[in-house]
């Protein structure tokens, strides 16, 4: 035998940690892309972002446990919840954010407003669902065994579904007329107006898509974690750290950052315990701000 028993055990553990890092990292990537998108297009920051994550989880929970949905599993859930998230995002943008945009200093007003929305949503969740945390059943139960390595199907599904979500989003951005319009508004708002792109509609669409992405992330990760009515802030901070670390407005930077941070969290959790994850994130954020304030791939000003 080349390796001692201890070494092999260590390798198994490392593999577990890497798998966990990859699956959470992939969901972070989904969330970071959504956040970067809204920031890149509308230049406004959405403080209620993390609460839309929970909204996705709660919608799925209602379908499974509230309405006792039996048919089609998560596919049906996604088919119902994703359009619902889109409508919620689009409606909120039109009703609450769009009217502010006509005013002076609207970026700050949008921040205040979404902060209020975040408080409202977490209170709403507490009233409707109670303070006790909810959890969702895994997409796919069981494990995949390769030799002596054991992978949970759940982790594999989470990884591939978030990856699928990101790829679909990327495809939409590059291959549909609306996607191109979104990119156009992000690159040059005046130019977009000149060619006749309805900016207001693109803003609302962008907001709605980001709501869908973070809601999708919520459904995926709520199977591993719990849905907690008050966790919106923590989730938003994580998405924010990923976005800042990757570089504001850079989608590719956000993707790299998400996997690096997913891994960091998994390794810190393994070495020191889960509660150190957040501390590690803040150290990373501070280090980023000091050493490379524009982020991994940000262009800087």
């Amino acid at each position: 035998m080349i390796f001692s028993e201890d070494t092999i055990l260590f390798l198994y553990e490392i593999t577990d940690v890497i798998i966990a890092g990859l699956s959470t990292g992939s969901v972070y990537a989904l969330m970071a892309v959504g956040m970067t998108l809204v920031y890149g297009v509308t230049k406004a920051f959405n403080f209620a972002y993390g609460d839309f994550f929970n909204m996705g989880g709660y919608f799925a929970w209602i379908l499974i446990f509230g309405l006792g949905l039996q048919f089609g599993g998560y596919l049906t859930i996604l088919v119902i919840v994703m359009p619902l998230m889109f409508v919620v995002g689009y409606g909120l943008e039109k009703l609450m954010v769009a009217p502010l945009r006509k005013r002076e200093d609207w970026e700050n007003k949008v921040m205040m407003l979404t902060l209020g929305l975040a408080l409202f949503l977490s209170s709403l969740y507490t009233v409707v669902f109670g303070v006790r945390m909810k959890s969702l059943p895994p997409i796919l139960e069981g494990t995949l065994e390769v030799g002596q390595l054991v992978f949970a199907y759940q982790d594999i599904m989470i990884f591939f579904m978030s990856l699928g979500g990101i790829l679909l989003f990327g495809w939409m951005l590059n291959n549909t007329r609306t996607g191109m319009a979104v990119k156009a508004v992000a690159q040059n708002p005046t130019g977009a107006k000149i060619v006749g792109i309805p900016k207001e509609r693109i803003f609302a669409f962008t907001f709605a898509i980001s709501t869908v992405m973070v809601g999708f992330g919520g459904i995926l990760l709520s199977q591993k974690w719990f849905i907690n009515p008050n966790s919106g802030g923590t989730i938003m901070i994580k998405a924010w750290v990923v976005t800042a670390f990757g570089g504001m407005g850079s989608i590719r930077g956000g993707l790299y950052a998400a996997f690096i941070i997913g891994m960091l969290e998994a390794f810190v959790g393994w070495l020191f315990g889960m509660s150190y994850g957040m501390i590690a994130l803040f150290i990373l954020l501070l280090a980023t701000l000091v050493l490379r304030p524009q982020g991994l791939m940000g262009k800087g000003e």
Partner: protein, 234 residues
């Protein structure tokens, strides 16, 4: 085709245009002269719905378009070709052109217009895949004009196309505008640096301090003592 009456435009509190009137008939080339910073660009932008506060009447094909959203104006067949180009820097030439045909009015003619634009600017055809931010000044200018043509507009507001170009390229702009006009497009042009552009003009306006200070055809303009400075004093 276009009739502007009693137009006042403001940037915040500052009034930029004062009681401006112009009129452009179908198929014409109308040239607007005047010193820099006196409101020529603002007039073009006002017509295209790009200025926030505009009072007065802008009549296009009999309909008042003042106050309409830019996308509606574009859809009616008016396009603005900006002096600072306003391209999409990280997109290719082709993507910029395709976005030029974003409005509903332009979509059915996208292929046709693409062919026309490429025959007008063969250079762009060879650079389809090049990213816009890497184009030279002259190429970017061509792309801006080409993108405007992709909108299938009948009425082109072209803002200082020669800005920032070397003199040898100015003649090219002159002949491009001539050709565009020959294809049936109506052109409202702001141009300072090409004296011979006046030869193309069916009507000439001069704007000073936000007001129209001269209106007439090119013979009247060339014979006007006080305008000599503008045409000869380049």
């Amino acid at each position: 085709m276009l009739k502007v009456t009693d137009l006042n435009a403001y940037y915040g509190e500052a009034q930029v245009l004062e009681d401006v009137f112009i009129s452009v008939d179908q198929g014409q080339v109308v040239v607007m002269f005047g010193p820099n910073g006196h409101g020529k660009s603002t007039l073009l932008k006002s017509i295209c719905g790009l200025v926030e506060k505009v009072q007065g009447r802008i009549e296009y094909k009999g309909q008042n378009i003042n106050g309409l959203a830019t996308e509606k104006i574009v859809n009616m067949g008016i396009t603005y070709i900006a002096e600072n180009r306003e391209l999409f820097p990280h997109m290719t030439v082709m993507e910029n052109l395709k976005l030029g045909a974003f409005s509903k009015n332009a979509r059915p003619y996208e292929k046709n217009n693409l062919g026309r634009v490429f025959s007008l600017f063969p250079l762009l055809k060879n650079r389809q895949k090049q990213v816009a931010s890497t184009l030279s000044g002259g190429e970017a200018r061509m792309l801006a004009v080409a993108r405007g043509l992709m909108s299938n507009a009948d009425f082109l507001c072209i803002d200082e196309p020669s800005l920032g170009l070397q003199p040898s390229l100015r003649h090219e702009i002159f002949s491009t505008i001539k050709q565009i006009n020959k294809q049936g497009k109506t052109v409202l042009l702001v141009e300072q640096n090409i004296p011979q552009i006046a030869e193309l003009a069916d009507r000439i306006y001069v704007m000073e301090e936000g007001q129209i200070s001269f209106e007439g055809n090119k013979d009247e303009a060339l014979n006007n003592e006080s305008l000599k400075e503008i045409f000869l004093g380049m």
